[in-house]
Amino acid sequence: MSAKPYHDIPGTIVFDAAQSRLGYHLNMFCMSLMKADNRAAFKANERAFLDRWPMTEAQKRAVLDRDWNGMLALGGNIYFTSKIAATDGLSFQQIAAMMSGVSQPEYAEMMLKGGRSVEGLRSKSEAR
C-alpha cells in the first residue's frame, strides 16, 4: 500500500480504496444488521453468524471483542460498524468515546466545551 498524504493525520483512518477492499465483507456483515432477523441471529450466536461471512479471523475477533478502532484498521467504515453499536443499543457518542479512549461523560463534557481541538492533531509530525 502506497503512502497517501492523509496517512499523516493522527487518529484517523480514511476509508479509501485500500480500506474498502480490505473491509468489504466486514462492512457487508454490518450492513446485514439493518434487518431485524439478522440482528436476532447475530445476538443469538455471534460467532456462528460471523462464520457465515468470508471475513478474516482478525476481523471476526475485532467484532466479537467490540474493538471499534481495530475494526476500522481492518477495513471497517464507521457508518457500517456503527450498525453493530446500534444492535448493542449503544449511541454514536458512546462508541466515539470508546474509540477516543475516554468515558462517555468525559467525552460529552469535551463536546460541550467546544469539542476536541485540532491543535496538535493536524499531522503526526505535529502530534504530541
Partner: protein, 279 residues
C-alpha cells in the same frame, strides 16, 4: 419557467432528528439548536417553494458497498424514510417531482454530469433532518423534494470544484424547465466533525466560520480547497461540506445572506446553517 430563488445550507446531524422525534427539542441541550432555525422556518413558510432539490449523502442506508454512485438523482414518485436500525423516523413520506427530476437527469447528463438515476431509494437522516429543521413536524411535507445523493462515505468524494460546477449545471437545467416552479436548493452535511478513531470529537470552529464566510463571498476559491484540507482541519466526516458547494454553484455569483447560524455541539458535530437569496 422554473427558477431557483434561494439556497439553504444545513448540517444534518442524526441526533437532531432523534431529539425532535422523541420530544426532547425543549431540553436545555437542544434548545439553542432549534432556536437557530426559528427564523428559517418563518423564512421558508413565506418563501413557499414548490420544489426543494436536496443535496445530501446516504449513510450506508440505501447504498451499501455493492453500488457507490458519486452523484445519484431520485426520480421516483415517493421516497420512504429509511430504517437506520432503530425503525424509520416518524416523518412524512417524501414526495418527489419525477417530471423535474427526469428533466434534471437528462439535462445534467447531456451537460457532462453522468448522474445515476434512482427509481427506488429510501432516504435517511441526511435528507429528513434538514426537512425537519426547516419545516418542523407537519402531517405532510409542504413541497415536493428531489433527492440528490452525493457519495462522501467512500473516499474520494467528488472534488469541491466538481460539486460547485454540478450546482451550475443544475441551475442551467432548472432554468430550462418550462413549468413555472419556484425551486430552493439545499446543501447539507458538516460542519466540522469526526466520528471515528482516537481523533473523534474534533471540532474546528475557526475553519467552520471561515468556510461560512468564503462560501458566500468567494465560492470559486473555496471550490479549489483539496480534500486533504477538509479531512485535516474539519475531520474525516467534515468533508461532507463539499455538498454545500453544489447548492452555492446553483445560485447567483452574488447572494444576500438572509440567515446565518452556528452552534457547538450537537452530539459529535458542529451545526452550521445559511440561507442565501439570489440578489
Amino acid at each position: 419557467m422554473a427558477r431557483i430563488t434561494a439556497g439553504v445550507a444545513t448540517s444534518h446531524v442524526p441526533a437532531i432528528g432523534a431529539a425532535l422525534d422523541n420530544g426532547k427539542s425543549g431540553e436545555d441541550y437542544w434548545k439553542p439548536v432549534f432556536a437557530g432555525y426559528e427564523a428559517s422556518k418563518a423564512w421558508i413558510a413565506a418563501e413557499k417553494p414548490d420544489v426543494v432539490i436536496l443535496v445530501y449523502n446516504d449513510h450506508a442506508s440505501a447504498f451499501s458497498l455493492e453500488l457507490i454512485p458519486t452523484f445519484a438523482i431520485g426520480c421516483a414518485e415517493t421516497f420512504q424514510p429509511a430504517d437506520e436500525g432503530w425503525g424509520p423516523r416518524p416523518v412524512p413520506v417524501v414526495e418527489g417531482h419525477p417530471e423535474l427530476a427526469w428533466h434534471l437527469a437528462e439535462s445534467l447528463i447531456l451537460d457532462e454530469f453522468d448522474m445515476t438515476i434512482v427509481n427506488r431509494m429510501d432516504v435517511d437522516h441526511g435528507l429528513t433532518v434538514p426537512l425537519s429543521l426547516m419545516f418542523g413536524q407537519p402531517e405532510a411535507w409542504p413541497c415536493r423534494v428531489i433527492p440528490l445523493a452525493v457519495n462522501v462515505v467512500q473516499y474520494p468524494p467528488p472534488s469541491g470544484n466538481r460539486c460547485y460546477n454540478l450546482g451550475k449545471a443544475i441551475r442551467r437545467a432548472v432554468d430550462s424547465f418550462p413549468e413555472d416552479l419556484k425551486v430552493v436548493i439545499f446543501g447539507t452535511g458538516g460542519m466540522s466533525h469526526q466520528l471515528q478513531g482516537p481523533r473523534a470529537g474534533l471540532i474546528n470552529s475557526a475553519f467552520d466560520h471561515a468556510f461560512l464566510d468564503r462560501l458566500v463571498e468567494d465560492p470559486e476559491g473555496q471550490a479549489r480547497v483539496p480534500h486533504l484540507e477538509y479531512v485535516r482541519e474539519a475531520g474525516s466526516e467534515g468533508i461532507e461540506l463539499v455538498m454545500w458547494l453544489v447548492m452555492r454553484g446553483a445560485l447567483d455569483d452574488r447572494v444576500k445572506v438572509a440567515h446565518r447560524f452556528y452552534h457547538v455541539p450537537a452530539s459529535n458535530s458542529a451545526v452550521g446553517h445559511l440561507i442565501l437569496e439570489n440578489a
